[in-house]
C-alpha cells in the first residue's frame, strides 16, 4: 500500500506538470491540475493509512 501511495503521489505530480506543458490556458489546464492534485491526495492517504495501520513499527 505504501509503494502504491508513493506511486500515486509521483503520478499526480506528473499529471500536474503535463497539464502545464501540454494543455491550453484556462479550464482544461485547471481541471487537469486539480485532477493531479486529487491523485496526490489519494496517494498521501494510502501512505498515511499504511503507517497508521502499524503505529508501533518504524520502517
Amino acid at each position: 500500500m505504501k509503494l502504491a501511495g508513493f506511486f500515486l503521489l509521483l503520478a499526480g505530480w506528473a499529471i500536474v506538470l503535463a497539464a502545464l506543458a501540454l494543455l491550453p490556458p484556462a479550464l482544461p489546464r485547471v481541471v487537469f491540475v486539480a485532477a493531479g492534485a486529487a491523485l496526490e491526495v489519494l496517494g498521501f492517504a494510502l501512505v498515511a493509512r499504511s503507517h497508521a495501520a502499524h503505529p508501533q513499527e518504524g520502517w
Binding site: W13, V16, A37, G58
Partner: protein, 447 residues
Amino acid sequence: MAAPALSETAMSTCILCILLVPLAGAGLSLIHSGLGRSHSAAHSMVAALYAISIAALVYFVCGFAWQGYPGRPAHSFLVAGKAWSWIAAEPFFFRGLEWNGSPSSLVACLQVFSVALAAVIPLGSGAGRWRLGPLCLSTALLAGWTYPLFAHWVWGGGWLAQLGVNYGLGRGFVDIGGSGTIQAVGGLTALAVAWVLGPRRGKYGHDGVPMAIPGHSAVLVLFACSLAWLGWLGLNSAGAILFAKIEPGRIVLVAVNTTLAAAAAVLMAAWITRSRFGKPDASICANGWVGGLVASSASCAVVTPLAAAATGAIAGALITFAVDWFENRLAADDPGGAISVHAVGGIWGLLSLGLFGRFPASAANLLPGVAPETDATWAGQPLAQVVGVATLIGFVFPLTYGLNWLLNRFYPQRAAPEGEHHGMDLHELGASAYPDFVTNIDDITQR
C-alpha cells in the same frame, strides 16, 4: 543577465534583517527541547547545533552550487518549447560570489541561515529517539540536495518561478519568506522522519490509542516563541527585499503582517483548545504562534494587514486540528509539532498568497505583453501556488521520505530501546541536562 545591485539603504537593511534569522533557529531549538522529555533535553539542543552546523557546511560545499541565483548559470531542458530550469550550475564552495553586498551574496548568506532553519525543523518530530550520527547524515541530504533543488525552482530562477513568464500563471510561484521552501520542506522531512523512526516507546497502546507524553518545560517553549518572532521578522524582511524586490520602507508592512499573523494564530489556538478542553493548551498555543509566523512568510509583503491576520487565524485553527489528526489518525508521533506547524502551516501560507496576494505594479515575472495592473494576472496566481504545493507533496515528500528510508536501511536512525528508556542525554552524551533532578517519572512508573 546580472541582477541590478541593491541601493545602499536596501543592502544595509537586508544585512541587518539577515542577521536576525538565527534567532528563529534558536527559538525552534528551544521549542523542541521544551516539548520533549527532560531526560533528552540536552540531546535535543546538541542535535540542533549539529543540524545547523552540518546544514551550513554542506550548503557551503554544494548547496548554493545547485540552488543558484536568477540570471546566473543553470541547466534547463525544453518542454514543448519552453525552458524549464531545474538545477543551477554555480561553482562549489561559493566560488564565483563577490562578497560586496551584491544580491547574490546576500542571498547566499540568507540561504546559509535558512537551510540551517529548515534542518532544525525535523528535530521536533524525531525528538527522544533520533540518533545523532544518522541525524547528521539526514541533515546533509536535506541541505545538500532536497532543499537546494526546490529552492532553485523557487528562488534561483527555476521553472516554478517562471510559471508566470512561461504559462501566464500570475507572477509564477511566489514564496517570499520561505513558507514552502524552508518551512514546508522542513515539515515534510519531519513527517518522513516521524514515520521512518516510528513512534516513541509507550506512545501508542496496544489498541492504537495515543498516550500523552507532556513536554518538560512550558517556560522554555513559550520564551522561545518570542525568539522565533524576532527571527521571523528578519527572515520575512530579508526575503521581501531579495525575492519580492520591495523598497526598504515597505518592511514596515512586512513586520506588521508577520506580527498580526502570529497574534491571530495564537488567539485562535487558545480559543479552540479552551472550547474543546475547558482550558487553553500552552503547547498548542505555542505551536499556533509559530504556525502563524510560518504561514505569514509566503505573502508577507503582498497582502493587507487584515488578510495577514486572517491568514494567521486560519493557520492557528488548521494547526490545532492537525496536531490532533497526525497524532490520532496518522500515527505520526511528533513531540514538537513540527509536521503540523511547518508542513501544514507552510502549505496554507502558500495557498493564502494565491487568495489574498495583491502585487504592486512594479512586480516582475509576468507573461510578456501582460500589463502588471491587469487583474488577469491575479487569476493565474492561485493556480501557480497550487502547482507549487503539488510539487511539495508529490515530489519533495517522496524524495525526502525515500532518502531517509534508504539511509535507515544502511544506518539505523532510531536509538536502542534502553537508550530511549534512560533518555538520550545519558545514552548518547553520557550526561543529563539536569543532573540535580533526583527523580524521573520513568524511574517510578512503567511505560
